[in-house]
């Protein structure tokens, strides 16, 4: 007779925490993040490569972020040669990060230079993706991400040694927690922004041209119901992410939603680097088991090959550290040299320095006219006609109505606006007024709503809704009343009350 098996001792809370942070693992996820983040950050870095002297040096027009925080002089602003040298080092460190050569030093250098050079140009360089990048680069520098799929690992094998590939998980865990905290912080921002939940904020962002081209956003801005739905889904996902994106189906759902979300920010908001950065950082969720599953699915070998060590002495030892230091020095000097040889502001052009261009009198009059008032048509963002309201928005724009239906008219106003006396008329094709309503839309409201009952006092045919502000025509919409009369039994006043 078998003795009853002893009941398993439940792991203590502390054991679970320790397992979470210190379980040994192959640095698969962090290695993939390392490889991709360097490449992603090269995009904005190379985009600004010809503007180094202008944006990041005291010989240009830098815009240090510490000035905005009332801390002028918080960090020194480099002169042009120094800025060029540091920028060259940033590019080098991103490349060596990606290929994994002297990985820890490369990551540390990339983290410091990304932050420092970004802070020198608050206008056009530093963004929150710069900040996330800085965090991730610094955390990667404390990981074993350079011990796998890297030049360092290759060189170690040539030396006949191997690098540690079963280090603790904590750097990867901190990267994951960082991403969850960023989402939670983004939720705080949304909670502080009531217009986010009515879709107004997103709608206007979809229409802006300060980000890259976003034609999908411009198209979707016409569907407020969808925007509101997306806003609530986004908030729920952001709140849940930190707490459930760890294992099993919740992990898959959270990461899949995240991929879709960030892809949509490319299409709808015109973001570019931020989504790619997050695609890269999401690789931190990949574990050895995931990779094995993928390799089996793709019918490759079931697991990662163990490092193959060559025999010592087979090849000459490569002095990686001194070589890296030499390249760093050479690249710095190369940056300085390029800066000295360049003439970014045209001071030494053969035809002489640039000459300020005069402005025509008409243009000067336009620029200096100091407009005080907004034209009445610009006080209106949109005049919509439909019948369904969802979260303060009309969501079923349409033009055709039947007898007995109530027409919902939404006047969306352009913020900021003053308290407005808004009238809405229903006119027939001959210009005769059949309905008129008015209300005062106070300055804190972005919309005014009106209702007209299409009852049997109206003949079938074409009508128009005319919106007037302070007695001036501001916008107009057409609608058709179809079908026979006599359907409506609701009184006009009652309909307006509804």
């Amino acid at each position: 007779m078998n003795a009853p098996a002893p009941s398993p001792v439940p792991a203590s809370w502390w054991d679970k925490v320790e397992q979470f942070f210190f379980a040994p693992e192959r640095p698969v996820g962090v290695a993939l993040v390392r490889i991709t983040i360097g490449l992603v950050l090269l995009i904005p870095t190379l985009h600004r490569v010809f503007r180094v002297r202008e944006f990041y040096s005291s010989d240009g027009a830098p815009s240090p972020i510490w000035n905005n925080y009332g801390q002028p002089g918080f960090l020194p602003i480099p002169n042009a040669p120094m800025a060029a040298g540091l920028y060259a080092l940033l590019i080098l460190s991103l490349v060596t990060t990606s290929i994994g050569w002297r990985t820890r030093m490369s990551l540390a250098l990339a983290a410091v230079l990304t932050a420092y050079l970004g802070m020198l140009d608050v206008i056009s360089t530093i963004t929150k993706y710069t900040v996330v990048s800085t965090h991730v680069l610094a955390l990667l520098a404390m990981s074993d991400c350079g011990n796998l799929w890297s030049v360092d690992a290759w060189l170690a094998r040539r030396r006949g040694t191997s690098l540690r590939i079963d280090g603790p998980a904590w750097p990867r865990r901190l990267i994951q927690i960082l991403i969850g905290v960023v989402y939670l912080g983004a939720t705080m921002t949304k909670i502080h922004t009531p217009a986010f939940f009515t879709g107004d904020q997103l709608r206007y962002w979809m229409l802006t041209n300060v980000n890259s081209a976003n034609p999908t956003g411009e198209f979707l801005s016409q569907f407020p119901g969808m925007i509101i739905g997306m806003a609530y889904v986004t908030v729920m996902w952001e709140v849940l992410f930190l707490f459930v994106a760890w294992r099993g189906w919740p992990r898959l759902i959270m990461l899949s939603t995240g991929l879709i979300f960030h892809f949509l920010t490319m299409l709808t908001l015109g973001l570019f680097v931020f989504p790619f950065l997050y695609f890269a950082v999401y690789l931190a969720w990949l574990e050895q088991g995931d990779l094995t599953w993928w390799r089996q699915t793709l019918r490759k070998s079931p697991s990662l090959p163990e490092p193959v060590m060559l025999q010592p002495g087979v090849t000459r030892k490569f002095p990686s550290g001194p070589a890296w230091a030499g390249v760093v020095g050479a690249v710095f000097l190369l940056g300085v040299g390029i800066d000295r040889a360049s003439d970014p502001f045209g001071d030494h052009r053969a035809e002489g320095r640039h000459v300020l261009q005069p402005i025509s009198e008409e243009r000067v009059a336009q620029l200096l006219r100091n407009d005080e008032d907004v034209h009445v048509t610009d006080k209106v963002f949109a005049l919509d006609v439909g019948s369904v309201r969802f979260n303060d928005n009309l969501v079923d724009r349409r033009q055709t109505f039947a007898y007995g239906e109530t027409v919902l008219i939404q006047c969306s106003l352009q913020p900021p606006h003053e308290d407005m006396y808004v009238e809405v008329y229903l006119r027939d094709a001959a210009g005769q007024v059949h309905r008129r309503l008015w209300q005062v839309v106070s300055r804190e409201n972005l919309r005014g709503h009106f209702w007209f009952l299409m009852d049997d006092s109206l003949a079938p045919g074409d009508y128009s809704i005319v919106m007037r502000i302070d007695g001036k025509d501001a916008a107009q919409r057409s609608l058709q009343l179809e079908g026979g009369s006599g359907v409506a039994q609701v009184g006009y006043e009652e309909a307006v009350e509804k």
Partner: protein, 210 residues
């Protein structure tokens, strides 16, 4: 030893992230130090109904005006179609940009520099095809221009003014006889330390990128 160091890093990092989160949530010391920019996750905290662009012009001693932007060596567009100078929402670096352009160009004696803000409703950013599907009115984009700042010939600020959104919000509140009566004849003191203002009930023009 490595374990102790790792635990120290973990605890410190989580504490710092937590502080940033709470600071942002309750508005506690969230702008006290430049380092807070690295701990506050306030992407897209603001929005505006108007698209804004900045124009920097200089007036010469002859009375002729010259354009300082786009900069003569070619304007840089960091994120989309807008030039770099238009991302300086608070006009904090107008002086540095103006001085830099003047230092590297030939020009007559400059007497003053003016920063002009151009604003237009974002509805005009809709492409024509979408506009015609959505609006019955013809698309007739209209821009508004207001002076944001006036600088002397050395690039030092002489006057600064509200941005377009701030101006409209200010007007909407002060267009009130009772308020105007109370305000009349009172001495006016100003400060560079702008705080959250109630004159913007429905719109902000702070723009964060990505």
């Amino acid at each position: 030893m490595r374990r102790i160091a790792a635990c120290t890093v973990i605890v410190t990092y989580l504490a710092v992230l937590g502080f940033g989160l709470i600071s942002h949530a309750v508005g506690f010391k969230s702008t006290d130090h430049v380092g807070m920019y690295f701990l506050i996750w306030d992407m897209y905290c603001g929005w505006s109904g108007y698209e804004l662009r900045h124009h920097l012009v200089a007036e010469g001693a002859s009375g002729q005006y010259y354009e300082l932007t786009p900069v003569p060596w070619g304007e840089f567009t960091p994120f989309g179609s807008a030039p770099r100078t238009s991302y300086d929402n608070s006009a904090s670096f107008t002086d540095a940009i103006a001085r830099h352009v003047l230092e590297h160009t030939e020009h007559e004696e400059i007497t003053q520099i003016i920063l002009v803000e151009e604003a237009w409703s974002k509805k005009y950013n809709l492409p024509d095809t979408l506009w015609s599907r959505y609006y019955e009115e013809p698309k007739e984009p209209r821009s508004y221009y207001r002076t944001r700042a006036v600088l002397n010939s050395h690039g030092e600020f002489r006057e600064r003014f509200l941005d377009w959104g701030g101006w409209l919000a200010y007007r909407s509140i002060t267009d009130n006889p009772r308020l105007q009566q109370k305000m009349a004849g009172r001495p006016f003191l100003t400060t560079e330390q702008f705080g959250p203002s109630s004159v913007r009930p429905v719109s902000h023009t702070v723009i964060e990128h990505e």
